[in-house]
């Protein structure tokens, strides 16, 4: 399960010219129909339920509509929604701040912790397989379940932490600290996720690199930062992208805690609160567009990385 073993790098250069030269062009009519359906149906589903809604958010962000009645009732109000988001909504800037804190926490604490665990587990100490499984367990849980589980830990009068500390702190209820409590819950899952991805990457690093470094007298810290880490650039980019996207997607845990209010406002929960039953369609769309614009940064950087060799 390693990067080099799974990506067909060694074959790629040999294969691509072949594919081009020997491309067989003679397809029967039936083949053409089959192939069109094979690509057409998935593309149609993707277009109707993913791309179109994404574009729909952009269009509707300039509208005022409560979702009732025909599309003729949509009122076009220019950039008023954006002006309201930036200028009036008392939740917006706190939400941006919380998303940024979420991102910073994952990027500077949780993801490095996951990488650190992976590096330690990679040393193959006795029991590392079992410990790896333990760190991995929360990765398979839904974030909603993670939220419920940590509610039992953080509860003011029945929670484990207050019981151990002898305090009565309302970890999830106090708006000054609940974001941090939620981040600890989120990290329980995120650290394991990063750990397993990084571990797979580490196993793909050519061992002779490390041996060479060791022969040259490098300490294990030097070996990691100067040799292994640079060699893992593709995985590092994936980790950065996953971290950013997870931070933007953050929703489930805070929704379980208090539906994203009182110190836990996030862009994603604001969109949900304004869409759906509340039916402030234009306003929710404007928020969605802001989230989309931010999300495009990691998405585009990931795609550039992933499709670098694929220009054909």
């Amino acid at each position: 399960m390693t990067a080099t073993q799974q990506t067909p790098v060694p074959q790629a250069p040999i294969e691509k010219p072949l594919a081009k030269n020997r491309r067989v062009r003679r397809l029967t009519t039936k083949d053409r129909v089959v192939i069109s359906l094979m690509i057409g149906i998935p593309t149609l589903i993707e277009a109707v339920l993913v791309w179109f809604p994404a574009i729909g958010s952009i269009i509707l962000s300039f509208a005022k509509w409560n979702g009732v009645g025909s599309f003729g009732k949509i009122e076009w109000i220019g950039t008023t929604n954006y002006a309201n988001v930036f200028g009036i909504d008392p939740n917006f800037w706190p939400a941006v701040r919380h998303n940024l804190i979420w991102l910073a926490f994952l990027a500077f604490i949780a993801s490095p912790a996951g990488i650190f665990l992976a590096v330690l587990l990679d040393r193959e100490l006795p029991g590392s397989k079992i410990m790896q499984s333990i760190f991995f367990l929360p990765v398979m849980f839904s974030l909603a379940l993670v939220g419920v589980i940590w509610q039992l830990i953080f509860s003011p009068d029945q929670g484990l932490i207050n019981g151990v500390l002898g305090t009565k702190i309302d970890w999830f209820g106090n708006p000054n600290i609940n974001l941090w409590a939620a981040l600890i819950a989120a990290s329980w899952k995120h650290i394991g996720y990063i750990m397993v991805l990084y571990l797979a990457g580490l196993k793909g690093v050519d061992p002779s690199l490390r041996e060479a470094a060791a022969i040259d007298g490098a300490t294990s810290r030097q070996t990691f930062f100067r040799v292994v880490f640079p060699a893992m650039k593709p995985i590092n980019i994936v980790i950065v992208v996953i971290t950013v996207i997870e931070a933007l997607r953050a929703f489930d845990i805070v929704f379980i805690i208090n539906k994203g209010t009182n110190g836990l406002q996030l862009l994603a929960t604001m969109i949900y609160t304004n869409s759906g039953a509340a039916a402030r369609v234009g306003y929710a769309s404007a928020l969605a567009v802001i989230l989309l614009v931010i999300a495009l940064v990691p998405i585009i950087s990931y795609l550039t990385q992933a499709f670098k060799e694929d220009k054909r």
Binding site: L49, L120, L152, Y272, G276, L292, I299
Partner: protein, 325 residues
């Protein structure tokens, strides 16, 4: 040889597309070099320190789940006149029975099955269709299209939420099929949206996998006059079984764990899948954490089964997606 080496080769055999001979041999040789050789292992004292650190960290990691389990075993009445931290008194599984009956757990589980099973099957079938076309039948738009598929899966779900809700609401369905008269509150829309959202990732992974299969396989078949469908069904798909198994495991968990789509598109409590139903459970048992913990743990049973039996497949699926990038 260390267990690492055999495991690494094992996973090669498990997940690598059957490549041509020399390539396979080269890889095996590479994997056979033990990464933890004496040179790179570090000092003995350091190793013991690391081991102690890892053991403490792993112990901490289990606490939330152990605490949830402990809470689920304690009857709520007992704490009326005892501290929540007194360890005496009864331990039993009554909370599980009560939670099962009082919450709509059987219904939630059934809904999860109704949504997850067709959604995973459809996702894999459609993704393998698209991947076959995108990776093995050349076309000018293959790469742009694959980029669009992949990008779709990376979007935050909330970006799509508002228009999706309106699409579902304004697309009529006959009353005999849907009591809302539209796609709102139906399993169809939850399945469809899950399929659409996961399709990008699966297409990306499958097409990378299929690209790695030697081109001669389908060329030879084509020369022999095999139709496109035959090339897909008889040649390529059987070779993709390892990737399909890993993706199926991953997608079962992803879709089972999805919280948002059903929350957005289903407003009737009794149509929710269990993960979204956790939100209802959380409200219903807000004052009884013993029942809540029992219900939450039951909701995790399918996940725990996959964790125990198919963890390797799940990890393989995760890393398949990440490593190409």
């Amino acid at each position: 040889m260390t267990s690492r080496a055999s495991e690494a080769t094992g996973s090669v055999a498990g997940l690598q597309p059957p490549a041509s001979e020399p390539v396979a041999r080269r890889r095996e040789k590479k994997a056979a070099i033990p990464t933890g050789s004496p040179l790179t292992r570090g000092s003995k004292g350091g190793r013991i320190g690391i081991l102690i650190f890892l053991i403490i960290a792993a112990a901490l990691w289990t606490i939330p789940l152990l605490w949830t389990f402990y809470t689920s075993l304690r009857p709520n009445d007992y704490f009326a006149d005892h501290s929540f931290f007194s360890v005496g008194g009864p331990y039993n599984f009554q909370n599980y029975v009560d939670a099962w009956q009082q919450a709509q757990l059987p219904k939630f589980f059934l809904n999860s099955a109704i949504i997850t099973i067709p959604a995973v099957a459809l996702t894999l079938i459609l993704a393998s269709f698209a991947a076959f076309k995108l990776s093995r039948v050349s076309w000018r738009f293959n790469v742009p299209l694959l980029i669009l598929f992949t990008a779709g899966n990376l979007l935050p779900q909330q970006v799509l939420a508002t228009p999706l809700f309106q699409i579902a609401k304004h697309t009529p369905l006959p009353a005999s099929i849907s009591d809302s008269g539209s796609f709102i509150n139906t399993y169809y829309i939850v399945i469809a949206v899950n399929v659409a959202f996961q399709l990008g990732f699966c297409t990306f992974v499958m097409s990378n996998y299929m690209k790695a299969l030697p081109i001669e396989l389908t060329e030879a078949a084509q020369v022999d006059g095999a139709s496109i469908w035959k090339q897909y069904w008889k040649i390529i798909l059987p070779l993709c079984r390892p990737a399909l198994a890993a993706l199926a495991t991953l997608e079962v968990i992803f879709i089972y764990n999805d919280f948002f789509w059903a929350l957005l598109l289903v407003q009737k409590g009794d149509r929710l899948p269990i993960t979204s139903g956790l939100n209802n459970l959380n409200g219903q048992f807000a004052t009884n954490y013993n029942l809540l913990s029992a219900g939450a743990l039951m909701s995790a049973i399918p996940v725990l089964i996959v964790y125990l039996v198919l963890q390797r497949q799940f990890v393989a699926g995760l890393t398949l997606g990440a490593n190409k990038g």
